[in-house]
Structures are given as structure tokens and as C-alpha cells.
């Protein structure tokens, strides 16, 4: 576990590249630019978190990266392959687990669904792979249940198992733990470390929770307001393995958290609170550090 998360090879080719990505909705007078010139690299076995103020077009960025939406200009590469549609080597975990799982299927069938029709994979292989993926998220005994019979955290585990069974190189996670309670959230954060170590997958995770980004990431990409661009990429040099209690109580953790919070707040778009002046209620929180 230690060697995978600790060694970050920036020498090789990036696993995922966003190159001068921009996105404009509409055209002419109604044109609204959401993403403006976003570039970053994600390397093999890295966990990179994207944070930014709400309304910063994180979802748009993710949909462009996932090949679900074409960008207006710029491109996304997985390795050397240009992304033109949803790439086979990428799996997505969506925020809203209750809508991203098929309620008419069992947990097992949900995990197996993307594997159907893949050449060289028999029904037994599929079953085996689903079992393994479910076991690695601790749900080996829930295979025959339906998603709605599980708690929210367990449903998101199913969605993670579905992504793992797909055997992607890159795991894209869109605010995956935003809809669960605090305890479940920290469990799922630790699960992310575990599966990362076990599957050696590269993770790109969008979140609005700064503590979460620091706890999970090797690097944090901070986005700024509209149109969104990359403010700064902050390396997180915290030792691995990380632990909810010890890691989060170190002064380094607090310092990184404060620094990123400062970056995010500084670029808080005034448009997110139209009724208030730019330095209104949004800035009243705790000290920005």
C-alpha cells in the first residue's frame, strides 16, 4: 500500500491529460463560457482531487473528461488516446448513487451489467469479477439484494464495485461522498485508499469538501470562478498510509487545508450570491488562514 501511493512517477507519460479545455454553452449573445482553458495532468497511480467553489463548473468539467459531453475547444487524452466518447479505460462513480444504480436489478446484476457482451468474458467470469469487486468493498453478502434495500453508503459502495469490476485505468468520481452522513463519509474515504492500493487505479475525484481532498489526494487542483480555470495545483506531501485521526490532526494537514481553503475563497465567484455584495455572507465563515 505504501509504495504505490508514496511513489509518484512524474517522469512517464500522464495517464490522463486535460489540454486547454474550454466549454461554452449557447452561442452569440447568449453564449456563457463555463470552462476557460483548463490544463492538467494526472499520472499513473495518482489520486488527484479537484476542488472549487460551488458553481465553478465542476460537473461540466467532469462530463467533458468522461467523454459524455464534447468540449468547445481543447482535448482530453487517456494515455495517448484522444477522448471522443466515453473511454473504455475510464469508469465513473456518480454523486447520486440512488439514481445511478438500476433499482430493478440486484446488486450483482448492477455490477455485472457493464461487463456484458465484452469479448472473452463468460457469464462465469462476469459473476466472479462482480463477486471479487463486491468483496473488495465489503458487500459480498449483499449480492442478491436490490440497491434500495441498502443504506446510502452501501449503495455508493455498489457503484464503486461496479466501477472496479469494469477494470478501468482511471476512476473518475463526481462528489462521490457528498450525499452520505459524516461517519459513512470517512468510511468511504478510507475505502478509497484501500481500493487504490489494491487495484492500483488512478483516481480523479471532484469534491467540494477541502478536508476530504487533502486527506485523499496526492495533488489537489484548485479551480476558480466563472469561467473556470486552474488557480493552483497543490501537492499534498502527507505520508501514507493515512488515517482519519492521526493524519487529520497533524499540523501539516491543517496547514494544507487552510491554504486550499484560502485559494478557494479568494476566487469565490461573486455570481454565486447575487443578492449579496461580493464580500457578504459567503466570507463570514471561520478565519481563512
Amino acid at each position: 500500500m505504501t509504495e504505490i501511493t508514496a511513489t509518484r512517477s512524474k517522469t512517464g507519460l500522464p495517464t490522463l491529460t486535460a489540454q486547454a479545455l474550454s466549454k461554452t454553452y449557447g452561442s452569440g449573445q447568449n453564449a456563457r463560457q463555463v470552462l476557460g482553458d483548463i490544463s492538467f495532468d494526472v499520472y499513473d497511480h495518482e489520486t488527484v482531487c479537484i476542488v472549487g467553489p460551488s458553481g465553478a463548473g465542476k460537473t461540466t468539467l467532469l462530463r467533458c473528461l468522461a467523454g459524455l459531453m464534447p468540449s468547445t475547444s481543447g482535448s482530453v487524452y487517456i494515455g495517448t488516446e484522444k477522448v471522443v466518447g466515453p473511454p473504455r479505460r475510464m469508469a465513473v462513480v456518480f454523486q447520486d448513487y440512488s439514481r445511478s444504480l438500476m433499482p430493478w436489478m440486484t446488486v450483482e446484476a448492477n455490477v455485472e451489467l457493464p461487463l456484458r457482451g465484452r469479448p472473452g468474458l463468460t457469464a462465469a467470469d462476469r459473476r466472479h469479477r462482480a463477486q471479487t469487486a463486491l468483496a473488495s468493498v465489503g458487500l459480498e453478502n449483499s449480492a442478491k439484494l436490490h440497491p434500495w434495500q441498502l443504506s446510502g453508503g452501501m449503495q455508493q459502495r455498489v457503484a464503486i464495485a461496479r466501477a472496479l469490476a469494469y477494470e478501468p485505468d482511471v476512476l473518475l468520481m463526481d462528489e462521490p461522498f457528498a450525499s452520505v452522513d459524516a461517519q459513512t463519509r470517512s468510511d468511504l474515504e478510507d475505502l478509497t485508499h484501500t481500493i487504490k492500493a489494491k487495484y492500483g487505479v488512478t483516481i480523479l475525484l471532484v469534491t467540494h469538501d477541502i478536508s476530504e481532498s487533502v486527506y485523499l489526494a496526492d495533488r489537489v487542483i484548485v479551480l476558480s470562478g466563472t469561467p473556470t480555470s486552474v488557480t493552483e495545483i497543490v501537492p499534498i506531501d502527507l505520508p501514507s498510509p493515512r488515517d482519519q485521526i492521526t493524519t487529520k490532526s497533524t499540523p501539516e494537514f491543517a496547514e494544507l487545508r487552510g491554504r486550499i481553503l484560502g485559494l478557494v475563497r479568494r476566487h469565490q465567484p461573486a455570481t454565486t450570491s447575487t443578492a449579496e455584495p461580493a464580500n457578504g455572507s459567503l466570507m463570514k465563515g471561520p478565519d481563512l488562514g
Binding site: M102, P103, M105, P114, W148
Partner: protein, 262 residues
């Protein structure tokens, strides 16, 4: 044990009122000498007579035509609904025409159906299909158009194969609405089968009813009426059983069926 007890109480709450109503009818009509309202006891014996002597000649053809008409309605309705639901430009083009055509009552087609198909089974099946496939079609289209964007994103991002996308995602996702449409079609089908048997026919429950009324055999007429009621009721019960099985996930999702842990 508890569930069987629960089921029998549920059954009791459902059947007590019909039993009371029948008993009241029986007692009130017992001494009746009215031509139009014969005693229920006599109607019952006629029901027995009709069921035993005319099952193959009249009841079975009605059931067959109804069954065939509904099956064809569902197949055509779901197939066309899939096409129109999945191809929005096609739906926009067809929508005005569809709205116009479905506004025509099914029975209004009887005169032309008589010319086209004669007075046999074909005509009745055609009438049922024309009248009863609209709810299936419209609900299938609605169901498909209402599928969550996120579900489509999941399907695309995991490159689900087109056939799996259709049969394991689109159809199940639209199934609650499709089934609601079929339920309406079943009721329409019962109406239409009777109407078609009234107009021009030599067989069927509706035919028995009309003929016996013309011959002032009111007990037979009432017996046929009761049979039609039972037929409609049973088709609904049958349908509920199918629905119960197919949409267990849907009830579960809405939190009304948390049973069946494994």
C-alpha cells in the same frame, strides 16, 4: 404465519361488501315478478347454464378475441412507443397525428371495420387493437422520455451494448408507465369486445346479452351482464398479479415494500 393471517384479513376486507351486496340483491329480488328484474336465484341458475352450455361457442371466443386484441395492442404499442420515445424528431413529427387519431373513440371505427374485416374475429380484434393500443403507446413514449438523464449517462459511460441498453435499462425504466398504460388498455378492451359483439356478431358474451334482451329473456341478459363483470374483474386481478411481480422493485424503491430480504 403472520403473513398468511395478514393476507386473509386483507382478503376479508375486500370481499365482505360484495357478499353483502349479493345477499341484499338475493333477498330483495327473491319474490320479484318483474319482467326486467328477475330473482337473483334464477339469474344464477342461468349463469350456470350459460357457462356450461355456451362456454365453447360464446365465452371462449370473447376471451380469445380480447386476449389476442390486447396482446397485439401491447406489442404494437410498446414497439412503436420505443421507436417514438427514443427518436425525438420522429415523435415531434408524429405527435399531432397521434393526438388526433387517439381522440377518435375505438367504437367509431366499427362501421369501417365491418367492411374491412367482416363480422368475424378479425374485426373484433382489429377494433380492440385500434381502441386499446393508444394508452400503451402514449405511456411507453412518456416513460421513455422521462428516463433519468443520469441513468443514460451511466449507460453511456459504461458503454452498455445497445441491446442491453434497450432491454435492461430503457424498458425496465419505463415499465411502471408502460404497465399503467396496459392497465387502461385492459379496461378499454373489455368495453370494445362487448361493443363489437353488439354491432354485428353471431357469438360472444355481448351477443348473448343483446339477443336475450331482444327475446325478453331478462334472466339470461342479467346472467351475461354478471359474466361480463366477472370477466372484467378477473382480467384486472390477473393483471394485478403480473404487475405485482414485475414492479416489485418499483414499490421497493418508493419504500412501500421493504420485505424480501434475500
Amino acid at each position: 404465519m403472520k403473513t398468511t393471517l395478514g393476507k386473509s384479513t386483507a382478503l376479508l376486507t375486500e370481499v365482505w361488501l360484495p357478499i353483502v351486496a349479493l345477499a341484499a340483491w338475493w333477498i330483495l329480488s327473491n319474490k320479484s315478478t318483474s319482467l326486467y328484474f328477475p330473482p337473483l336465484s334464477r339469474i344464477f341458475s342461468k349463469v350456470g347454464e350459460v357457462v356450461t352450455t355456451r362456454f365453447a361457442s360464446d365465452i371462449l371466443p370473447s376471451l380469445q378475441n380480447l386476449g389476442a386484441g390486447l396482446c397485439i395492442s401491447v406489442i404494437i404499442g410498446v414497439a412503436c412507443g420505443l421507436l417514438l420515445g427514443l427518436v425525438p424528431p420522429l415523435y415531434s413529427a408524429f405527435q399531432p397525428l397521434l393526438e388526433f387519431m387517439r381522440a377518435i373513440p375505438g367504437v367509431a371505427l366499427l362501421p369501417i371495420a365491418l367492411f374491412l374485416f367482416g363480422i368475424g374475429s378479425d374485426m373484433k380484434v382489429a377494433i380492440i387493437v385500434f381502441g386499446a393500443f393508444w394508452p400503451v403507446l402514449m405511456n411507453t413514449i412518456d416513460g421513455i422520455r422521462g428516463i433519468d438523464v443520469l441513468i443514460k449517462d451511466v449507460s453511456r459511460s459504461y458503454s452498455i451494448k445497445p441491446w442491453d441498453h434497450l432491454t435492461r435499462i430503457v424498458l425496465p425504466a419505463a415499465s411502471p408507465q408502460i404497465i399503467a398504460g396496459i392497465r387502461i388498455s385492459v379496461s378499454l378492451g373489455v368495453i370494445l369486445i362487448v361493443a363489437s359483439e353488439y354491432i354485428a356478431s353471431t357469438e360472444g358474451i355481448g351477443y348473448i346479452q343483446l339477443l336475450s334482451a331482444r327475446q325478453y329473456q331478462m334472466d339470461v341478459m342479467w346472467a351475461a351482464l354478471l359474466l361480463l363483470g366477472v370477466l372484467g374483474y378477473l382480467s384486472n386481478v390477473l393483471f394485478r398479479v403480473v404487475e405485482h411481480r414485475l414492479l416489485r422493485w418499483h414499490r421497493g424503491l418508493r419504500g412501500t415494500d421493504l420485505g424480501g430480504q434475500k
